[in-house]
């Protein structure tokens, strides 16, 4: 029997969802027009007034919001409420420029916790669950966002934050932790350290986990599931929109349900910006329709995915986004070919011997892009002669080329020589712009 946190909302039919979305969208647009001068100006430039929103199709007439808009309004000019109503601030890491700041009202935090609680129930948690939150706590939305949702659900929360991996494992064993939340790369690190400590997954009571904040392949999922003995769900979010729990996978692991009573999702063509036909891949664009602090209209997430409106086997009607391959910021262009690091990961992990310890190096030699993939050697791919190792390298290179159409030099490196992640893994070192 499928359990829900909020069955009425999670299983409402498409007509109900659309009626609700139109009503909330109209309110949201009126709100930003009245309270965010930056939006009023953008709409006026397009010759639009809030009353132009008559159907959901009018959404695509509204201007797009980008990360640059948030930088232009740094720190608080995008907020739609007075600062005395803001009860918390989060900020992005700012690795690709000035950090972006978001603010939450008390009601925003309640809505966020509601979204997280729905995700946890979808991920098989209930009040008897023991949830270890190994996302970093702080300005990053991962730790605190998941924390309050798990508390709202009534689970027992262990606010471990990231790092101190041996202690994480000791707590998981001693406290009988059933649910783990962290980045997928940190989950693998935990599994590895657990084995080094002489434990096996049988010492754990893990049932499921919600892993996100970085793109990961289905091969990676299989590794995490087999090494930790749990079902691994993808959890998606971004601070600009809310944080983790914008969407989450159910047990069928066939797309992430986006909470459509809070967010309207669209897919636009990366080249033209026009809406794509239903089911096609493109840029995920999200409008928040249940947010007070920093409501965003048509925010370009820079994630590439497709939407599936069919009702899921789990009974939830909310649209599913395909597992995102990665942010467009992370996309590599190697001699004109677009490649996501997660696609490289997929190919690597489809080769049985390869474990997910790898690093992608991009360089420019004589004005040509070069791609080198370092993979940690293990017993299965080891050979006592040079030919054996070189043949393995060539075989990997051939598969990368046949699937992704790029030439990659494969270099096997010694065990444990690639840095283990405690948060967002640094998979790519691009030295072209250094």
């Amino acid at each position: 029997m499928e359990r829900y946190w909020n069955k009425t909302v999670e299983t409402m039919n498409r007509e109900q969802i659309q009626a609700l979305q139109l009503e909330k969208l109209r309110v949201a647009v009126q709100n930003v027009y009245a309270h965010v001068p930056y939006y009023r100006k953008k709409m006026q430039e397009k010759g639009m007034v809030p009353d132009d929103i008559k159907t959901l199709d009018n959404l695509s007439d509204l201007p797009i919001t980008t990360k640059q808009d948030l930088r232009n309004t740094y720190p608080f000019s995008m907020f739609a409420v007075p600062m005395e109503n803001i009860v918390r601030i989060h900020a992005s890491s700012g690795t690709t420029g000035k950090q972006t700041v978001v603010g939450y009202t008390r009601r925003d935090l309640d809505v966020w916790a509601e979204c997280v609680a729905r995700c946890f129930v979808m991920g098989d948690a209930d009040t008897s669950s023991r949830v270890q939150v190994a996302y970093g706590y702080g300005l990053f939305t991962g730790g605190l966002g998941v924390h309050y949702g798990a508390e709202k659900l009534g689970a027992t929360v262990i606010p471990a934050s990231s790092g101190n991996t041996q202690r994480q494992i000791t707590m998981m064993i001693d406290f009988g932790v059933t649910h783990l939340c962290c980045t997928p790369s940190y989950a693998l690190n935990i599994a590895e350290v657990m084995r080094e400590m002489g434990h096996t997954k049988d010492d754990l009571k893990l049932v499921a986990g919600s892993f996100g904040a970085e793109p990961w392949s289905t091969g990676m999922r299989a590794e995490i599931e087999s090494q930790l003995g749990l079902r691994a769900h993808d959890i998606y979010g971004l601070s600009e929109i809310m944080g983790p729990a914008v969407s989450h996978e159910c047990r069928y692991q066939n797309g992430l349900h986006i909470w459509e009573d809070c967010f309207i999702a669209e897919i636009t063509d990366p080249d033209t910006g026009e809406p794509v036909k239903e089911g096609a891949m493109g840029d995920l664009v999200i409008t928040t329709i249940n947010k007070e602090g920093i409501p965003l209209i048509r925010y370009k997430t820079r994630d590439i995915c497709a939407l599936n409106y069919e009702t899921c086997e789990c009974g939830r009607t909310h649209v599913r986004m395909s597992k995102p391959a990665g942010r467009t910021d992370d996309m590599l262009i190697i001699r004109g070919v677009n490649v996501f690091p997660s696609q490289i990961e997929s190919v690597l992990l489809s080769i049985g011997e390869v474990q997910p310890h790898y690093q992608i190096l991009v360089d420019r030699v004589n004005n040509l892009d070069t791609l080198t993939i370092e993979i940690e050697l293990n017993d299965e791919m080891f050979s006592d002669n040079v030919k054996g190792i070189e043949e393995f390298e060539k075989n990997v290179s051939r598969q990368i080329n046949s699937v992704l159409g790029v030439n990659a030099k494969i270099r096997l490196v010694e065990p444990k020589s690639i840095t283990r992640s405690e948060g967002k893994a640094k998979r790519v070192i691009d030295r072209r712009n250094m």
């Binding site: 006592d384 096997l412 020589s417």
Partner: protein
């Protein structure tokens, strides 16, 4: 069959010294070594006084190390003795993947050649049948005593 320790080493300054350091700390003696090198990595092959211990210690220190079965043959420390063995391999149509040789102070085993053969498991009996002395534990014991 004879046990060789095989180690994958990235081409980085000091890396080989870390291998020899690990072995020195555990009092493992080296009888012979050979390195196959490429631009990016080398494969270090060693005959050591205690292969099991050496393999364990290197793994504990995060080296990619394995024990590999090789064929050890005593050839005699005089002109033409290696040639005799290699001619016999040719006659038997046995290919060599790699080989290296060393000398020792032990009278019976003053020159030893280590061979890694193609399809080794299948051809080693042919080799024994031809009268070439394929050595095992007795060789290591002698080397360790000498």
């Amino acid at each position: 069959m004879f046990k060789q320790i095989t180690v994958f080493i990235e081409n980085k300054p000091g890396r080989l010294a870390e291998v020899t350091g690990c072995l020195a700390d555990e009092n493992v003696n080296l009888h012979a070594l050979s390195i196959a090198d490429t631009t990016d990595f080398g494969i270090l092959r060693m005959i050591v006084s205690d292969p099991d211990k050496a393999g364990r210690v290197l793994k504990e220190n995060n080296f990619m190390a394995q024990t590999t079965d090789v064929v050890a043959v005593a050839v005699g420390h005089n002109p033409g003795s290696l040639h005799t063995v290699l001619r016999e391999l040719e006659v038997l149509n046995i290919s060599i993947e790699y080989m290296y040789a060393f000398t020792s102070r032990h009278k019976a085993y003053d020159a030893i050649v280590i061979l890694r053969l193609a399809n080794q498991d299948m051809v080693v009996d042919k080799l024994k049948g031809s009268g070439i002395p394929v050595l095992g534990q007795e060789l290591l014991d002698s080397l360790n005593e000498a």
